[in-house]
C-alpha cells in the first residue's frame, strides 16, 4: 500500500533543504566509491557486470536528488549584518570555495576530484540556503535517537536477563518516560508486555533465545523458562 500517494500541497518546508543536501552528499560519496567497491569484469556482458545495478542505483540517487534539490522552493538565508555589508567577506567566501575546489582538483586529479568539487558546491549552496527552521528541525531529528537508544537497550538486555522479565520492566518504564503516571496505564503496560510474550514466545514459538540468567534457575524450571519465556 502506498501510504504517501495523497498529495500534500502544504508539505512542510522545514528541513527539506537540509535533508536533500545530506542525502545528496551521501549519494555522491557512494558514487565516488563505486570504482573501489564494485568490480568491472573483463569479457562479461555490460548488463551482467557487477557494477551495472549499483551504478544505476547510486547514479539515480545522485541525479534525482540533485534535481529535487534544485527544484526545492528556497529562500536565501539572511546572513548577519556585518557579513552582508562587508564586501571583503563575500569575496573571501567565494574565493575560499574556489580554492578548495581547485586544490582538490590538483590533489586528486580532475576525474577523482569531480565528485568532491560537486560536494563542495552542494555544501556551499546548503550553507547559503539553509534556514533557522532547518536547524530546529535537525534538533527534532536528533531527539529521536533517544527512542532508538531505548530500543537498542531493550535488545541488549533480553539475551542477558530474559524476554519476559525485561519486557515486563521495560514497558512500564517507557510508559512512565513518555508521560503516563497513572497506575492504570502502568499496569496496562505490564499486562500488555505479558500478553506479547505469551503470544509470541509461548504460543507462536518465535525464535528468541533463552536468557543467560535462566541458566541459574533450578532443573525443570530452567528448561521451562528457556522454552516459554
Amino acid at each position: 500500500m502506498s501510504d504517501e500517494i495523497i498529495e500534500h500541497p502544504d508539505r512542510p518546508q522545514r528541513g527539506q533543504v537540509l535533508f536533500a543536501a545530506l542525502f545528496l552528499i551521501c549519494a555522491t560519496l557512494l558514487l565516488a566509491a563505486i570504482g573501489d567497491q564494485t568490480k568491472w569484469l573483463k569479457g562479461k556482458d555490460f548488463f551482467a557486470q557487477p557494477r551495472f545495478w549499483p551504478g544505476i542505483g547510486v547514479g539515480g540517487m545522485v541525479l534525482f536528488t540533485a534535481l529535487h534539490f534544485w527544484h526545492l522552493p528556497r529562500k536565501q538565508r539572511r546572513l548577519p549584518r556585518w557579513m552582508r555589508e562587508a564586501d571583503w567577506f563575500q569575496w573571501a567566501e567565494s574565493l575560499f570555495w574556489a580554492f578548495l575546489a581547485a586544490g582538490l582538483a590538483l590533489w586528486l586529479g580532475p576525474i577523482a576530484a569531480a565528485p568532491m568539487v560537486f560536494l563542495v558546491a552542494v555544501i556551499r549552496v546548503t550553507w547559503l540556503y539553509q534556514h533557522w527552521t532547518d536547524r530546529r528541525e535537525a534538533k527534532v531529528w536528533a531527539s529521536v535517537f533517544e527512542w532508538a537508544g531505548w530500543f537498542l537497550a531493550y535488545v541488549l538486555l533480553v539475551p542477558i536477563i530474559g524476554y519476559l522479565p525485561v519486557t515486563m520492566v521495560f514497558a512500564p518504564i517507557l510508559t512512565w518516560r513518555v508521560g503516563y503516571r497513572s497506575r492504570l496505564m502502568l499496569w496496562t503496560s505490564v499486562v500488555f508486555a505479558v500478553v506479547v510474550v505469551l503470544i509470541f514466545k509461548s504460543f507462536l514459538q518465535v525464535k528468541i533465545p533463552g536468557a543467560a540468567l535462566y541458566e541459574y534457575l533450578p532443573g525443570a524450571l530452567r528448561s521451562f523458562f528457556i522454552l516459554n519465556f
Partner: protein
C-alpha cells in the same frame, strides 16, 4: 456452463487447503486483527504485517499468507470507523472516506455512514474475488507467456508507475526507488561472487535484509513518530440500532458500486498503482455522473460508496501480479513475497500452471474473510470503536515492543536491530517531511527481480529491438513509453498552469509600489552616491590652507 463447471471443480479442489483448523484460526485472527489494527489510527496494516512477518515464517505458506492477507483485506473495513466518526482515517486509504463519512456523522447519520461503508467494502471485496476466480483460468493461460524480458519490463513498468504516482514528489520518489535498488545490490554479486559496497564489513556481505528495512521504515519509524507526538482527545458518537440498512441503500446504487469495484480490480492488477488511483477515479466518476454532484464532500452517500468499494476491491486484485508474475505492486504485497521465498514457493507463471489450487484457495480465503469481517463488524462495532481511544504515545510503546519481536526473531542479530533502528530514524525523518518511503521497499524488491531477469534476458538478445520482438514485451514497452509520455505531458501542463497563475496574479497595480521602491533605492544608493560625490566638489569644506 463450462466456465461454471471449471469454477466449481477448482473450488472443490482448493477447499482441501482451507478445511484445516490452523487455516480457520488464521482466518479468524486475520479478520478480527485486521479490523482492530485498521480501527486504531496510527498503526495501519503495513506496521502489523511488518511485525508479524517473521512469525509467519514458521507456519505453512497458506496459513501465513491467510493471516497477512486477512490483515491487508480487513484493515480497510476497520479504517473507515475512525474516518467516519472522528474525521481521522484509520489507514491511509480511508482518507477519501472522511470527505463524505464525517459530514454524515456531524448531521447525526453516523450509523448510516458506517453501515454504508461496511456494505460497500463488502461488495468491493466480494466483487474482486469473484472476478479473479472467474478469470483465473485465463490468467493461467497468459502467465506462461511471460518470459524473463516480459517480467523485467513488467517490473520496470511497476517501478515507473510507483514513481510517477507520487505526483509533485516524483523526483524524490525516483531517488528513493534508486536508493532501494542500490540497497538490494549490497553484498555478494550472485553471478560473479564479487563484493559490492560491503566496505570490507562482514555484516554487509550477506546484504541488507528486506524485512529489517521494512520493519525499520514502517514499524519503528511509526513508533518513533507516535512517541514523539502528542495524544489527541477523541470524542465518540454513541451508535444505536443495527447496521443492515446500508445493504438496502447500496442496492439503490448498483452502477456506482459496480464501476467503482471494476476500477478497484483493474487498478489493483497494475503494479504500482493501487488504492489511491482507483479511489480517485471512481470518486470522480461518481461525482460527474451524479444527479447531485454538489453533495460530494458534504456527506454524499454516493461518494462514500465509490471510495469504500474501490479501495476494498484492490487487495484481491493486487495479488494477481504477485502470484502470476512474482511482481509485487505495492509495499504490502512486497512483504508477502518474502513469505513465499522463505518456503521456497516461487510465485510466477509456474505457480499458476502447476499449483492453481493454492491460488484459488487464497482467493477463497479472501472471500470467507470478507464474510467474517462483515459479520464481526455488524455485531461488534459498538465495542470496537473504543480502541480509537488508545493514547498515541502508549501505542508507540506497544509498537516498539512488538517491533523487537519482528526484528530480533529473524536471526537473533543485534546488527539487524541496529540497522532497523537506523532505518527507523530515516523513516521518521521522511514521515516528518511527508516524503515517500514506499519506493524504497519496491526499489529493493523490483530491483532484485530486474537484475536477475535482465541478465538472463540479455543472453538471447542480439540487437535492442530483439528485446521487444514478442507481443507481450512489445505491449509492455508501449505501456512504459505511454506512461512516461503522459507523465511529462502532465508536468508540462502543471508548469504552464503555474506560470499562468503567476502571470494572472502579478498585474500592474501590484508592481507599481515595487517600481517606486526600486527607484527610491537606486536614488538613495547608486545615483545618490554619484550626486553626493558631485556636490561634494562644489561644497568642499574650507580648510586652513584656503
Amino acid at each position: 456452463m463450462d466456465l461454471i463447471y471449471d469454477f466449481l471443480t477448482q473450488v472443490q479442489a482448493s477447499s482441501s487447503y482451507l478445511a484445516r483448523w490452523d487455516v480457520v484460526l488464521a482466518l479468524l485472527v486475520g479478520s478480527v486483527g485486521g479490523v482492530l489494527i485498521g480501527a486504531i489510527p496510527g498503526v495501519g496494516p503495513a506496521v502489523a504485517i511488518a511485525i508479524l512477518l517473521p512469525a509467519t515464517f514458521s507456519m505453512d505458506p497458506i496459513v501465513g499468507l491467510t493471516v497477512l492477507l486477512g490483515i491487508y483485506g480487513s484493515s480497510m473495513y476497520g479504517g473507515s470507523i475512525p474516518a467516519i466518526l472522528i474525521n481521522t482515517p484509520g489507514t491511509a486509504v480511508n482518507a477519501l472516506t472522511t470527505y463524505d463519512g464525517f459530514p454524515m456523522t456531524t448531521r447525526g447519520e453516523a450509523r448510516r455512514a458506517l453501515s454504508l461503508a461496511y456494505s460497500s467494502s463488502f461488495f468491493g471485496g466480494i466483487f474482486s474475488v469473484v472476478c479473479l476466480i472467474l478469470f483465473a483460468p485465463i490468467l493461467a493461460k497468459i502467465a506462461p507467456m511471460f518470459g524473463s524480458r516480459e517480467i523485467f519490463l513488467a517490473a520496470l513498468l511497476g517501478i515507473i508507475l510507483v514513481v510517477t504516482a507520487h505526483r509533485k514528489h516524483t523526483l524524490i520518489a525516483a531517488a528513493m526507488a534508486c536508493f532501494g535498488i542500490w540497497l538490494n545490490t549490497i553484498g555478494l554479486h550472485p553471478a560473479s561472487y564479487s563484493k559490492r559496497y560491503t566496505f570490507d564489513q562482514s555484516w554487509l556481505s550477506g546484504g541488507v535484509n528486506l524485512i529489517v528495512v521494512v520493519l525499520g521504515l514502517f514499524a519503528l519509524s511509526q513508533a518513533f513518530t507516535l512517541l514523539h507526538g502528542d495524544d489527541e482527545k477523541v470524542r465518540l458518537t454513541k451508535l444505536k440500532g443495527s447496521f443492515f440498512q446500508g445493504f438496502r441503500e447500496l442496492a439503490r446504487h448498483p452502477r456506482i458500486a459496480g464501476i467503482s469495484a471494476t476500477f478497484g480490480v483493474v487498478m489493483g492488477m497494475i503494479p504500482g498503482v493501487g488504492e489511491f488511483t482507483a479511489q480517485f477515479m471512481s470518486y470522480t466518476y461518481a461525482q460527474k455522473s451524479s444527479k447531485r454532484p454538489e453533495d460530494f464532500g458534504h456527506g454524499s452517500s454516493e461518494g462514500l460508496i465509490a471510495a469504500e468499494t474501490a479501495n476494498n476491491a484492490v487487495p484481491g486484485a493486487a495479488m494477481v501480479p504477485l502470484l502470476a508474475l512474482g511482481i509485487p505492486g505495492e509495499a504490502l504485497t512486497a512483504m508477502m513475497l518474502s513469505v513465499f521465498y522463505v518456503h521456497n514457493v516461487i510465485p510466477g507463471p509456474q505457480l499458476f500452471q502447476n499449483d492453481m489450487d493454492f491460488v484459488v484457495a487464497l482467493y477463497l480465503a479472501l472471500l470467507i474473510l470478507n464474510v467474517l469481517v462483515v459479520a464481526f463488524l455488524l455485531v461488534a462495532t459498538n465495542q470496537l470503536i473504543k480502541v480509537v481511544k488508545i493514547p498515541n504515545r502508549f501505542l508507540g510503546v506497544c509498537i516498539l515492543i512488538l517491533s523487537f519481536v519482528g526484528v530480533y526473531s529473524l536471526r537473533n542479530s543485534l546488527t539487524d536491530c541496529i540497522v532497523a533502528a537506523a532505518f527507523g530514524i530515516f523513516g521518521f525523518i521522511m514521515k516528518r517531511m511527508q516524503l515517500p518511503v514506499v519506493p524504497i521497499v519496491l526499489g529493493m524488491v523490483l530491483g532484485g527481480i530486474m537484475e536477475v531477469k535482465l541478465r538472463s534476458a540479455m543472453a538471447r538478445v542480439k540487437t535492442p529491438l530483439d528485446f521487444i520482438d514478442r507481443p507481450i514485451a512489445a505491449i509492455l514497452f508501449g505501456m512504459i513509453v505511454l506512461v512516461l509520455l503522459l507523465h511529462f505531458r502532465r508536468v508540462w501542463l502543471d508548469y504552464k498552469e503555474r506560470k499562468t497563475d503567476e502571470w494572472q496574479t502579478s498585474h500592474a497595480s501590484t508592481s507599481f509600489p515595487a517600481i517606486l521602491s526600486r527607484r527610491r533605492n537606486y536614488i538613495l544608493t547608486e545615483r545618490g552616491k554619484k550626486l553626493r560625490a558631485k556636490r561634494k566638489t562644489f561644497s568642499r569644506r574650507l580648510t586652513d590652507n584656503d
